[in-house]
C-alpha cells in the first residue's frame, strides 16, 4: 500500500491558500447584509425606528417587523410569509429572505423570486420623520392587491 507524503513546502503552500480562502470568505461576508435585533418605540399601532446607519436587516420580533435598509432605501416588511403566514428569515450568505416553512424566496426589497408564495413580501406603510422612520402596523400593502401603495412603501435611507 503506497502512502503519499506531503513535503513541508507543499504543506505551507496549501495551508497559505486555505488561510487566504478563509480570509477572503470572511471579507466577503462583511459586505453582505447583516441581521440585527431591534425594538421600536411607540404603540402597537405605530412604531418608530432609527434609520439604520448602514445597509442591513433589522428584525423587531415583538412587532413582527423587518426593517430593511438596502441600496439607500428603507422598507418595513411583515415577518409573515404571504403563503401560509410562517416566519420569514434572512439568509445573510445568500442575500435573500426565505420562508421557514415552504421555502419561498424574496430579494432584499421583498420581491418574490421562487416558491409557494404568489406575491412579494407584504410591506407596512412607512414614512420618514427626521432621522427616524414611522411604521404603521395597522395595515399592510400586498403587492397583488395594492401594487402602487406597495411600490410606494419605501423611504430614502
Amino acid at each position: 500500500m503506497s502512502c503519499k507524503h506531503q513535503s513541508r513546502r507543499e504543506f505551507l503552500r496549501q495551508g497559505g491558500c486555505s488561510l487566504f480562502t478563509i480570509g477572503a470568505l470572511g471579507i466577503a461576508a462583511d459586505v453582505l447584509l447583516p441581521v440585527t435585533a431591534i425594538a421600536g418605540a411607540g404603540s402597537a399601532k405605530e412604531k418608530t425606528y432609527q434609520i439604520p446607519p448602514a445597509d442591513g436587516v433589522n428584525v423587531d420580533r415583538g412587532a413582527h417587523v423587518m426593517l430593511v435598509r438596502y441600496a439607500n432605501k428603507v422598507y418595513a416588511f411583515s415577518m409573515a410569509c404571504p403563503h401560509e403566514q410562517a416566519a420569514v428569515k434572512w439568509l445573510k450568505k445568500d442575500n435573500r429572505f426565505q420562508c421557514t416553512k415552504h421555502d419561498s424566496e424574496y430579494t432584499p426589497d421583498g420581491t418574490y423570486t421562487t416558491g409557494h408564495a404568489t406575491r412579494n413580501l407584504d410591506r407596512f406603510p412607512i414614512r420618514r420623520d427626521g432621522a427616524s422612520v414611522i411604521v404603521n402596523l395597522e395595515r399592510v400593502f400586498q403587492s397583488d392587491k395594492h401594487a402602487d401603495a406597495w411600490a410606494g412603501a419605501v423611504v430614502d435611507g
Partner: protein, 162 residues
Amino acid sequence: MLPVPIREIADTWASIYSNSAALRSAISFAHVGGLVGGGGCALAADRATLRAFRRAPDVVAGEVHHLHGTHNVVLAGLAVVIVSGVLLMFADLDAYLVATAFWIKMGFVVALFVNGSILVRTALRVETGDAAARTGLKRASIASIILWFATTLIGAALPNVL
C-alpha cells in the same frame, strides 16, 4: 450578542440548510425518528412498569430488569434528537434564542434527563429489593410519560411560534 465565529458558523449553516431540501428532510427525519424511537421505547417501558405494579412484586422485578435494556435505546434516541436539534437551531439561531417556547422545550429536555436518571437509580433500588423505592419508580414512570408528551407538544408548537 453572539461571538463572531459562532455567528459565522450559524450563517454558513443556515445557507447550506436552506439550500438543500434533502438535508432538511434528513435532519427532520433524524429529529422525529429519534423522538419516535427513543420516546416510543421509553413510553412502552414506562407503561409496562406501571402495569407491573398492579401485579405481584416479582413481576415488577422482572419488568425493572427489562427497563435497563430499554435505557440505552432511549439514550441513543435522545442523542440523535439532540444532535439534529442543534442543527435545526443553528439554521435559524436568532429566532430560536429569543423564543420562549424554545427555552420551555429545553427545560423539558433537561427534566427528561434528570427524571431518566432518577428512574434508573430507583429501578436499581427496586431490583435489590428496596420496597420503599417502588413508589418512587412509579412516580418517575408517570413523570416520564408526561414529560415525553409535553416535550413533543412544545416541539410541535415551536416552528409555529417562532
